[in-house]
């Protein structure tokens, strides 16, 4: 790499020597141009000022949590907007004395544009804005910079006051709006209450309870009815023939029991007495009689069975006359009455239950409407209360800003009168001209030759081309050439010397004249 660098420098010097005439011409032109430029370069005086702005949108803290705020803007941009506004610029024109020649409106526009171009406004810190203004006249530079700072501060304060006033007005309007809304929801609630008189707090619970009661009652009644029905069917079956035959059968059994009893007595008596004993005879007669009665009874039962198969309840007169039968009959009548009563009660209870269910539905609907109305009312009321409080805050802020108390804006560093001109100086420009005059053409020549890949010696041939360099021949200067070359070098040196002498004399003249 080191070798390469040396090679490159060597190559550059070689090229410079080859193209020396061109370089000298370029050098002279460059130096003369820089001389002219340096001589005519306007002296600019720049004045700076920094303004501290603790800027925050007035609506921000006031509306915190309620409304979303737009981001706080770039301060320098805000400052630029305000300063380059027509209002301030017109005052600046007056301040700088540009209006003395009574320029036309178009000319004023041009002057304003020029002033804006010479003014730079930058953010130097989170709350610091720097205003720089450049002018050929140091006094005017100071005046304008000061004017910018003052007018900007003033403008910002009035903007601020205006802003807080409009913030207050905004909140005031909002309060009014919410007041209206609140009134509307109050009215709606009122109307609802008048329309639904029977509806009161806890009505829903009452209805539910009543429904429950009715349902229990209905179930009880139905149970009773079922029981009565069972009793009725039981009584009816008891009163029917089937019961009767059972009764008959039991009589037959009684008779048989009697007979068996008598026979047992007879057997006991026979152990002690003859057949002719009166007791025995009597018992025998009794048995026979009983047997007859049994026979009769059996016949009667058979008859009853026969009549039952013919679907005709046959009730014996003897049974009808039975008091138990009559009692059963009475019970049956009573049960029938009870059933009728129960049916009527069940119907009634069902109607009641339906009514209650209907009412329950109505109450639910009304409940929903009421909660919606109440909610509206509550929300409106809440916002309204909040806004009322904020309005009072805004009023205070507005009053504060109107008295220019609430904003932290001040001139951090006041403008000063510049003494030394800013920007490049005379000597800088001359030096730039000289350096450019030497290096620029050399660089251009070097660059062009590199771009075209010109071959100067064997080092410029890449290995992969397989070009064999058999000889590298340096220039053979003939005697005349040597002489011409010398003359040329002397001429060029004189030209360079003369140019530098011109630059030096012009520069010293300028120094003396100042």
């Amino acid at each position: 790499m080191q070798v390469n660098n040396i090679e490159n420098i060597r190559r550059a010097l070689m090229l410079a020597y080859v193209y020396k005439n061109m370089i000298v011409v370029f050098f002279i032109v460059s130096v003369l141009i820089s001389l002219v430029a340096a001589y005519n370069w306007p002296k600019n005086y720049t004045s700076h000022t920094t303004v501290y702005i603790e800027e925050e949108n007035i609506l921000g803290p006031l509306m915190q949590g309620t409304a979303v705020q737009t981001d706080v803007l770039d301060r320098a941009r805000i400052a630029r907007e305000i300063i380059f506004g027509r209002k301030i610029m017109e005052k600046i024109l007056q301040l700088g004395g540009w209006l003395d020649n009574e320029p036309t409106l178009l000319e004023q526009e041009y002057i304003m544009d020029a002033i804006q171009k010479r003014t730079t406004i930058t953010n130097v810190g989170p709350n610091l804005v720097r205003i720089s203004y450049k002018d050929t006249n140091p006094e005017r530079s100071y005046q304008i910079t000061k004017g910018f700072a003052d007018l900007f501060t003033e403008g910002l304060l009035s903007t601020k006051a205006q802003e807080s006033k409009s913030a207050f007005e905004f909140i005031y309007n909002q309060v009014n709006e919410y007041e209206q809304k609140l009134k509307i929801s109050e009215d709606a609630l009122e109307k609802f209450r008048t329309e639904n008189v029977d509806f009161r707090e806890g009505a829903a619970g009452e209805v539910t309870q009543r429904i429950l009661l009715n349902r229990t009652q209905l179930e009880n009644l139905e149970q009773e009815l079922r029981e009565a029905m069972i009793r009725k069917s039981s009584l009816e079956s008891q009163l029917s023939g089937e019961t009767e035959s059972t009764a008959g059968l039991s009589r037959e059994e009684q008779i048989r029991g009697r007979i068996a009893e008598l026979r047992s007595n007879l057997d006991t008596l026979r152990l002690s007495y003859h057949e002719t004993y009166p007791d025995i005879v009597q018992i025998k007669t009794q048995i026979e009689e009983l047997l007859d009665t049994l026979k009769e009874e059996q016949e009667r039962v058979a008859k009853a069975k026969l009549s039952k198969s013919n679907n005709r309840i046959y009730i014996d007169e003897s049974i009808r006359a039975n008091p138990l039968y009559q009692q059963l009959q009475g019970d049956l009548y009573e049960t029938n009455t009870q059933i009728a009563t129960l049916n009527t009660r069940i119907e009634r209870t069902k109607i009641l239950l339906e009514n209650e269910l209907e009412r329950d539905k109505r109450i639910n609907a009304a409940q929903a409407k009421l909660s919606s109305l109440t909610r509206d009312y509550n929300v409106n009321q809440e916002v309204y209360q909040d806004l009322l409080r904020r309005r009072e805050n805004a009023r205070v802020s507005m009053n504060l800003d109107l008295e220019h108390q609430g904003v932290s804006i001040n001139i951090n560093e006041p403008a000063y009168l510049p003494h030394a001109p800013s920007g490049p100086r005379y000597i800088h420009i001359i030096l730039i001209g000289i350096i450019m005059g030497i290096f620029l053409p050399s660089a251009i020549i070097y660059g062009i030759n590199s771009i075209f890949g010109r071959v100067f010696d064997a080092t410029d041939i890449r290995d992969d081309t397989n070009l064999l360099i058999i000889g590298e021949h340096t220039h053979y200067s003939s005697p005349t050439e040597i002489v011409t070359n010398k003359k040329e070098l002397i001429t060029l040196s004189i030209i360079i010397f003369v140019t530098l002498a011109i630059v030096l004399s012009v520069s010293s003249y300028r120094l003396i004249s100042e």
Binding site: V455, D457, L468, I469, G471, H473
Partner: protein
């Protein structure tokens, strides 16, 4: 091997062909009487310097040494045989004539060898032609008219160096190098002396066709590329018009002297 060389081999081995006896201003020389060539009136050193031709006592010895080194390389390649060397350049005025005359001069510096420079570039009149006194006939005259071969070979006041000038004023030239007569001339010149190097000063790449034609007669070809005037591709293109077995290499010419 060029067709000339084939012809030469034939001529030498068979001796069937009668070599035309010389007469006029060139004396017939052999290895033994080579010193006869040094009888010419020598040219002044200042004149050589003005024409950029090397001479042993010149101020800038580096230039002399560069040509000596080139001569040695070429002599090694040709293995002692007298060779026909074509010198052409990448661009007109690229230094082919300068290299050709100095190469010829450097061969002539060697007491054992002589050289003959033939100017085959009809477009320009090189500096070295001014060395010739009473320059009457040249190559074009020989090829277009009936002139004896001896009448176009001139001594130039440098020991061991002869020149055939082109001698055309018009710059117009036909297809001379395709003629039988040109071929015969080369054979004749080549077969005459064993230690004579024949150097053809060829046109540059702008006359590519003639360079190609001339390269058929040569045994070696040397490309002259002026420093800082060409890029690699142009040099490669110029190299490729000569067959690779004949191409000797590139001479980068006119390199500016290093300042440090």
């Amino acid at each position: 091997m060029s067709k000339i060389e084939e012809a030469l081999v034939k001529a030498r081995s068979g001796n069937k062909r009668e070599i035309v006896p010389s007469h006029g201003n060139e004396k017939k020389l052999t290895r033994n009487n080579i010193s006869l060539m040094y009888s010419d009136k020598l040219v002044d050193e200042s004149e050589l310097a003005a024409r950029k031709i090397i001479y042993p006592d010149m101020t800038d010895q580096s230039v002399l040494n560069q040509f000596r080194s080139l001569r040695t390389k070429l002599a090694q390649r040709s293995k002692g045989e007298n060779a026909i060397i074509l010198v052409y350049s990448t661009i007109p005025g690229g230094g082919a004539s300068y290299t050709a005359i100095n190469l010829a001069a450097s061969f002539a510096l060697d007491k054992e060898k002589t050289s003959l420079l033939i100017n085959c570039d009809f477009t320009t009149k090189p500096e070295y032609e001014s060395l010739i006194h009473n320059n009457k006939y040249g190559l074009v005259d020989y090829l277009s008219r009936e002139i004896d071969i001896e009448n176009i070979i001139y001594p130039v006041g440098i020991n061991g160096l002869r020149i055939i000038p082109s001698n055309t004023e018009s710059g117009l030239f036909g297809e001379y190098f395709t003629t039988q007569k040109f071929e015969e001339l080369i054979i004749e010149l080549a077969s005459r002396y064993k230690d004579r190097y024949i150097i053809l000063d060829a046109p540059s790449m702008h006359d590519e066709a003639n360079v190609k034609l001339l390269s058929d007669f040569a045994r070696h070809a040397l490309l002259v590329a002026p420093s800082g005037k060409n890029n690699e591709n142009e040099i490669i293109k110029a190299k490729n018009i000569v067959s690779p077995d004949k191409f000797m290499g590139v001479v980068i010419n006119n390199i500016p002297k290093k300042l440090f």
